[in-house]
Amino acid sequence: MSSPSPSRALSIRGLFADAIYQVLDNKVFRVLIAVTLIPILLTFFVGLKEDSISVLFGKWEFDYPAMMAMLGEDPRPVAIEWLLDVVIDQFAGGIGMTLAIAATAFFVPRMLEKGAADLVFAKPLPRWALYLSRYITGLLFVGLLGLFLTVGMYLGVLIVSGYSAPAILWSSLTLIYLFSMVHCVTMLIGVYTRSTSAAMILGIVFFFGNGCVHSGWQLKEQFGDMLMIEEQEAKNDPKADEIEEEEKDNWRLVRDSAFFALDALHYPLPKTSDASLVSLHVQDALLGSGRMASREQMLDTGDELHAERQKEWGDSDSPMGDQDPDTWFERRFAWDSEELRFNVWFSILSSMAFTTVLLLLGMWKLSRSDF
């Protein structure tokens, strides 16, 4: 026999090549590529100049609305933030993500089908590598779509608006980050049930359920802060004591249980709702892109008003410090907050820990499976 000795690197390359073929042949992938052309074409047809909006390569020119004048001399950074918010966070991060979960749910169950599993697992590759390759295939699915979308939009903005916005390109990483947290769940369901339908349905349920948990947790945090404000106000109003006592008796147990449940779910679960905000902060920290400033400008709530309100308050023992309730609340929860309502590193690390644990669990299950 004159065959050369087998190479592990070639085996891994084979797995990657298989991943690419699998993605490119996927019908949903092709449909999504076609759908992403809509926002891309929008950036080509609508140009944002420094002083006007140009439609269809200058066929029509419009002045910016008066409101936009508040955004400074060049409104384009803020307009780009708005574009990213709508296209990436809402459109790609919501509908696109749901479709991606549905389109990639079959990766593991199909690999484990009788006949297919025999072919794949008889190869001299460790099962964990095969499992990981399916995970990477999913990320590739979203990554290629994201890259197509963001490169297209970036070029549109660059060519037509004459404005280079690397933030658009960065958004493809945000989508991969977001999908990486959900895909491990779909895969784990797939490896346990070996059913595409179960993986698809439960994956989507998880995606939305997880979003609800974090929205619920944010509401809980806001509610908790409002309670603190009420307590602060009650100190100044003796009549409020009776109402407070009654509230304690009736609702405290229920409320505390619900709060505990939300905390218990929020901390270990991946922070899908934080993905875009995390991305924004990481981008600012690594590249000094100043995107946070643009976002703050977009969602400006009016600092002057806060300054006025602050004059009326001043208790250093309060959790609010010297701030009035509105200012304190806003700084804690709003985009122009000095203290974020979450910790970027905790968000990233806890999400990565969740993803890693689920991947390891899936690999363990696969290593124990008979075909």
Partner: protein, 324 residues
């Protein structure tokens, strides 16, 4: 002096039991209480026969690490079965396989070869002759989803052989293949054996196994009932057939031929061929004496054949009546 090569397959006391769970009741798939013993030497074509559910596929899957054994020992090319290293030297065509439909035949061969650690160029050089030999050269660039069942079986066989494995496991290799394709597969197996590869065939098609295998084992309910060469498994029945030309012999001629030989015999007409069959149970001395008398009577002898039991007889007897 180089040490002798380990057998292609060695199995000692191997058994597999599927445990019961909420969703399924457990059952013993292979080996019974004592487990099975089996050895397949290198360069042989080994056939594993058995009815559906006998445990043929389970045995192969244990050897390839697709199913975990419950006990006993299983070795593939001298290394513990289930490890990934010996699998690089093995080709496998599973029963009812599902090839990736999103690939063309050629892409699938490349990826399959790469997954066992072979270079793309190296695979391309070898895939051409294999595709040609199995009649798939013209369809190699079509998507697998467009293939017929027979074409899938043939391209599946090429993927099992493309990396020049030392051992090839073929599970029902001719399933769904037309007669021409079957002949091509049989020829391929014979060539593989000539080139020194070991071929392990799982089948319930007795004729295929009879034609190409030089050792055969019959498995039933997870136990090996009989194992040996085709000659071992299909012994003489003790009956001899003489195909003689001409009209049926008269009773006088028969008395003359068998006088003093003390041989039981019967004469039957051969419906499709000229002449008739003389069936008898005789030892060599009696047979030679009879042949001398036939020649002296100027009766042309067309054929002399010792009757053997067919593999089908042996198989059905074993499967229906156990190992008795």
């Amino acid at each position: 002096m180089t040490p002798p090569l380990a057998p292609a397959v060695r199995v000692r006391g191997l058994h597999k039991t599927y445990k019961s769970s909420i969703f399924s009741s457990g059952f013993q798939a292979l080996g019974g209480d004592s487990g099975i013993d089996l050895q397949v030497e290198r360069g042989s074509v080994f056939g594993l026969l058995g009815p559906n559910g006998a445990g043929k596929t389970t045995l192969v899957k244990i050897l390839l690490g697709l199913v975990r054994k419950s006990g006993g020992e299983a070795e593939l090319l001298g290394e513990p079965a289930g490890q990934s290293r010996p699998r690089a030297r093995v080709g496998y065509l599973p029963e009812a396989h599902r090839l990736p439909l999103y690939l063309t035949g050629r892409q699938m061969l490349r990826l399959s070869g790469m997954m066992v650690g072979r270079d793309r160029k190296w695979i391309d050089e070898r895939s051409g002759p294999w595709l040609e030999r199995l009649g798939m050269a013209g369809s190699a660039d079509r998507k697998i989803k467009e293939y017929s069942k027979g074409m899938m079986q043939r391209i599946g066989l090429v993927q099992a052989l493309i990396h020049e494995p030392e051992v090839v496991f073929l599970d029902e290799p001719t399933d769904g293949v037309d007669p021409v394709g079957r002949a091509a597969i049989r020829e391929t197996v014979t060539e593989l054996a000539k080139s020194g590869s070991t071929v392990f065939i799982n089948s319930h098609l007795l004729m295929e196994v009879e034609m190409i295998c030089d050792r055969i084992a019959i498995l039933k309910d997870g136990l090996i009932l009989r194992e040996g060469t085709l000659q071992d498994l299909t012994p003489d029945t003790g009956e001899i057939q003489l195909h003689l030309a001409g009209e049926l012999p008269s009773s006088e001629l028969q008395t003359q031929l068998f006088a003093g030989l003390k041989v039981e015999h019967s004469v039957t007409e051969k419906p499709s061929d000229p002449g008739y069959l003389l069936r008898l149970s005789a030892d060599d001395e009696q047979l030679n004496a009879l042949i001398d008398r036939v020649r002296r009577s100027n009766i042309p002898i067309l054929q002399i054949r010792r009757e053997r039991r067919t593999l089908e007889d042996v198989f059905i007897n074993l499967v229906q009546g156990g190992s008795q």
